[in-house]
């Protein structure tokens, strides 16, 4: 029954598609309630300014405008500030100072969306501009003025974090045959899911019940945060229902709590009316959490023969005006210390300093686990810099250094225990698929003709599936995740999870796990997520944690059911439970295949004919606390051709070999890789949010924030190796983000490789045509 069962390893077509292809998906902006009013926000044109006066009279005079909310209105409600996940606080609305351009300054509530917009445009604010700091290095200078006088520490340094063996590392560097060093800036970018953020908040004054439909990747955590932040307003957690409906892409951007959410909730609580707030794209890019913005100096020490020995990294992290990074609480720099990558460094030392600037707060993932792309990009760039210095082939150098399969579980120099891997296998497969040798030959011939082509490799190791409760929590809540399964009398089932799909296909893949474990066809299984009133508590979907954590919970919950089912089957088969085994998706009397019961028969019995003394019903819940993180990996090879006249980079081919352990749905895994690769290409060549000296956002809308179109994206070539995770119930590791993590270095390495013979070792991303062309000119090889 394998095919119709639709178990693990099958490319089951997605169940959720049915509504999306009919335009029947239900996203937040599709929610319409009787009497619903609209909220719009007036924002600051200044990056840093004192607020002298806010005149709301013109706005209030507009027919249809119901209310205007300013920071001073929030003070008595104790809502002018809200706590961040990183123990900082951030403004909901400013009372006296704006800290970044496009910061929320006032909210207008009106009967219609258009009138709310008119109201926001009519808010008049008098500002006294203040000096602006957009460069975190300047922010950390001793004489820099303090951006956050509200803090005890009178400095723009938010925190200093370090890990590893400083003395030991310095020692290796002192003695090393070879060292290489590179300054690498990984620019500020934005996830820009095509659906922006929004909320409909509906407060029932009689019941004291708050219901919110919200674009959130973590509905349960949000419910708890609301209860903690607004508890004093009488919002208790049992009276708060957070519904995360269909989400039009998340990628990390829908993890944080934004002021707009709080304002809409506040407005609903005050007016008793349902309030909708949906961002414009410009607001989304300009004020919602950014990603990256790491200024990195990295060094590798190695032996003459290329064996890597030590890694030393110093980083300045620009966190904007408030430290609102979405990291596990104990990890201010996320999992940046995965930076030793796929290589057995003996010693490593990493330090990061967080800095305040006049930029929006954030520091979220961009379709990657916490700060993992920054780490993978740095180490994979450095390996190429080392190869250039040693005049070695970058593939060879990697193969020589990789952590060997026998070494797993492997403890890295910075203390992570990698679960499993076979890095050489993946790289060799990629080299074979793209004909690496042939490409190198072609490159030599082309160089003779003055043509510039480059081949770039990235053999990354990811770290996902946060995480084990001994290390991982958010605001103290341990990072387990959950699954509840109920098998109905007719043998159909409903599966509810604490995570929340944003396009990953959970309604299909989690059904497949249950199908595999319980022998119930995936078509007979409903998967439900996102409603805190019905789903078990979970931390949500980000950092590729759904499959590693919630997927494991699903398998374990299913196995609990299977175990109870075994007792019922034994009862039905009049056999001793010890003689009954689960085989070929049914219960069988050992050695007597004829004597068997299906899960459907057992389910019916669980409600109609269960053993005396046994509880009726067939359901189970599991809150899964992963014993370790999972470590997906892969090897990518990219081929680029450079235009010697314009400096354009053309990605000719890109082969991606991924290993995410056991694959639940190959079709969906490949789709995730395609998307991830595209979100790796984007920051490598196109996307960046920059700020001029006045703090003006450059790239604050889709005209200048350059999401790749179908014309920029190559036809991705994918392949797979399978190295199961030893500690995951079904051996899966997670795939949503690998490609985003691995691709940028492959592309950057390819461009540098095309120019390496001219003495180029690094180009900061995004690699724009003018950056390339400036090099071509300097080296005298421009058209």
């Amino acid at each position: 029954m394998g095919a119709e069962l639709g178990g693990i390893g099958r490319s089951v077509k997605r169940k959720e598609d049915a509504r999306f292809i009919r335009g029947r998906g239900k996203y937040v902006d599709d929610v319409k309630l009787p009497g619903m009013v609209y909220l719009d926000i007036a924002r600051s044109p200044y990056a840093h300014a004192k607020i002298l006066k806010i005149d709301t009279s013109k706005a209030l005079a507009i027919p249809g405008v119901l209310a205007v909310i300013t920071g001073n209105d929030l003070v008595p409600l104790k809502l002018a500030w809200m706590p961040t996940l990183m123990g900082d606080q951030q403004m909901v609305l400013p009372t006296d100072t704006v800290m970044y351009q496009s910061q929320e300054v006032a909210a207008v509530v009106a009967t219609e969306r258009y009138i709310a917009a008119d109201g926001a445009a009519a808010i008049e604010v008098e500002y006294e501009p203040l000096p602006v700091i957009v460069d975190p290095k300047k922010a950390l200078l001793p004489d820099a003025f303090v951006l956050r006088p509200d803090r005890k520490e009178k400095s723009n340094r938010i925190w200093h974090w370090e890990t590893g063996d400083k003395a030991g590392t310095d020692e290796v560097f002192r003695k090393a045959d070879v060292t290489v060093k590179e300054d690498i800036y990984i620019p500020r970018i934005h996830v820009s899911s095509i659906e922006t953020c929004g909320i409909v908040a509906s407060f029932d004054k009689v019941e004291g019940q708050l219901t919110v439909w919200m674009t959130t990747q973590a509905p349960h955590a949000i419910r708890t945060v609301i209860a903690l932040v607004a508890g004093h307003l009488g919002l208790a957690e049992h009276k708060i229902r957070v519904i995360s409906p269909d989400i039009g892409g998340g990628f990390g951007g829908k993890v944080p709590v934004y002021p707009g959410y709080v304002l809409a909730i506040g407005a609903s609580v005050l007016t008793g009316l349902p309030v909708k707030w949906v961002e414009d794209r410009s607001e989304n890019i300009q004020a919602d959490s950014f990603a990256r913005d790491y200024h990195i100096t990295a060094e590798v020490a190695a032996k003459k023969d290329g064996t890597v020995e030590a890694l030393r990294v110093k980083t300045i992290a620009d966190h904007g005006a408030f430290d609102a990074a979405a990291n596990p609480s104990k990890f201010p720099a996320g999992l940046f210390h995965i930076i030793t990558g796929s290589y057995p460094f003996k010693k490593a030392f990493v330090e990061v300093d967080g800095a305040y600037t006049n930029k929006p707060p954030g520091g979220i993932a961009y379709r990657c686990s916490f700060r993992v792309t920054e780490a993978a990009f740095t180490i994979e760039r450095l390996m190429d810099v080392l190869a250039i210095k040693l005049k070695r082939d970058p593939a060879e150098l990697r193969l020589q250094n990789f952590i060997q399969p026998a070494a797993f579980p492997y403890r890295s120099a910075l203390g992570w225990e990698y679960d499993s891997g076979d890095y050489g296998k993946a790289l060799k497969l990629a080299m074979e698929k793209i004909d690496y040798a042939g490409l190198r030959k072609e490159q030599l011939e082309k160089r003779k003709r003055g043509e510039l082509m480059g081949i770039g490799i990235s053999s990354f190791t990811e770290i996902v599936g946060a995480g084990p409760s001994k290390h991982f929590d958010i605001l103290g809540i341990k990072m387990f995740d959950s699954c509840e399964i109920r098998v109905h009398p007719t043998g159909k089932a409903i599966v509810r999870l604490g995570v929340k799909s944003q396009g990953q296909g959970h309604e299909t893949t989690f059904g497949q796990i249950v199908a595999e474990e319980l022998g119930i066809p995936v078509a007979d299984i409903t998967v439900e997520e996102g409603d805190t009133d019905t789903a078990p508590y979970g931390l949500g979907t980000y950092a590729s944690r759904s499959t590693p954590v919630a997927g494991a919970a699903t398998a374990v919950a299913a196995r609990k059911i299977r175990e109870k089912g075994r007792l019922i089957a034994a009862h039905l088969l009049e056999a001793s439970p010890d003689d009954v085994e689960w085989k070929d998706h049914k219960y069988q009397v050992k050695g007597v295949p004829a004597k068997s019961k299906t899960m459907q028969e057992v389910a019916f019995a669980a409600y109609t004919n269960h053993p005396q003394g046994m509880e009726a019903g067939l359901e189970a819940v599991d809150y899964y606390d992963p014993p370790n993180l999972t470590y997906p990996f892969g090897s990518y090879i990219c081929v680029v051709d450079l235009d010697r006249g314009t400096g354009e980079v053309h990605v000719r081919r890109f082969v991606a070999v991924d290993d995410c352990g056991v694959v639940i749905n190959p079709m969906i895994v490949e789709g995730q890789v395609h998307g991830g690769l595209t979100m790796g290409l984007a920051p490598a060549l196109y996307e960046q949010i920059n700020y001029d000296d006045d703090g003006n956002i450059q790239g604050g809308n889709f005209m200048d924030y350059l999401l790749p179109t179908a014309m920029e994206v190559p036809s991705w070539e994918t392949a797979r190796t399978v190295t199961p995770s030893p500690h995951h119930p079904i051996g899966a590791k997670g795939i949503g983000e690998s490609a985003t993590v691995g691709a940028p270095a492959a592309i950057a390495n390819a461009v540098v490789d095309a120019l390496a013979h001219l003495g180029v070792t690094h180009i900061d991303i995004p690699i724009t045509p003018w950056k390339v062309q400036a090099i071509l000119k300097a080296k005298g090889v421009a058209e």
Binding site: K13, R14, E16, D17, A18, R19, F20, I21, R22, G23, R24, G25, K26, Y27, D29, D30, K32, R113, Y114, V191, S192, S193, I194, E195, T196, D246, I247, G248, G249, G250, F251, D280, R281, S282, Q502, G503, Q504, G505, M667, I668, E670, G671, Q672, H674, G675, G676, L677, T678, M679, N701, F702, M703, L707, T709, A710, M711, V713, S715, W716
Partner: protein, 169 residues
């Protein structure tokens, strides 16, 4: 300025609709708010993303960059009109079969662009498909499977047109 309302009559997916709108009402808001047809989405404010793509008198356009009053007397099609007598349009099936969607937010606009393409070019090349959808942004799929979805639909439509027993094109 006084709020003047303009009466408009238009055909949406074959149905006649009458309404009064403000001059500044964008067509996409008219569809979503006035007609409660929420299949057409909004993804940007700069005419860049194509999530709001509908077919206006046979041509795919961005409904966030047309005023509802401009559609007066005209005929338009949206994602809600693709399925006929509970039979999916080939493009809908193509997106499902080829995994051409993930979060589904860009999908309606993407499909309307593709439908219009296939109506004027039954057998587009991969490049023609990529060019045709270059005004529609997708953040999830990397476009590869969207191209396959359009090719799938193209083949299915051509097959349907051919005499019975004829093989797949």
């Amino acid at each position: 300025m006084a709020e003047t309302m303009y009466p408009i009559t238009l055909t949406v997916n074959g149905e006649k609709k009458e309404a009064e709108v403000e001059a500044r009402t964008l067509l996409v808001h008219f569809l979503r708010e006035n007609l409660s047809m929420t299949g057409t989405h909004i993804g940007c404010d700069t005419t860049s993303c194509g999530a709001c793509t509908i077919i206006l008198d046979g041509r795919p356009v961005k409904s966030c960059t047309v005023f509802a009053v401009q559609a007066n007397g005209r005929s338009l099609r949206t994602v809600e009109g693709l399925e006929k007598d509970s039979k999916l349009h080939a493009i809908q099936d193509g997106f499902h079969q080829e995994h051409g969607l993930q979060c589904g937010f860009c999908t309606p606009g993407m499909m309307m662009t593709a439908v219009a393409l296939l109506e004027r070019n039954a057998a587009p090349t991969e490049l023609e498909i990529r060019q045709a959808i270059s005004g529609n942004l997708c953040r999830c799929t990397g476009y590869v499977n969207i191209v396959k979805a359009v090719q799938h639909a193209s083949a299915a439509l051509r097959e349907a047109k051919q005499p019975v027993a004829a093989g797949r094109a």
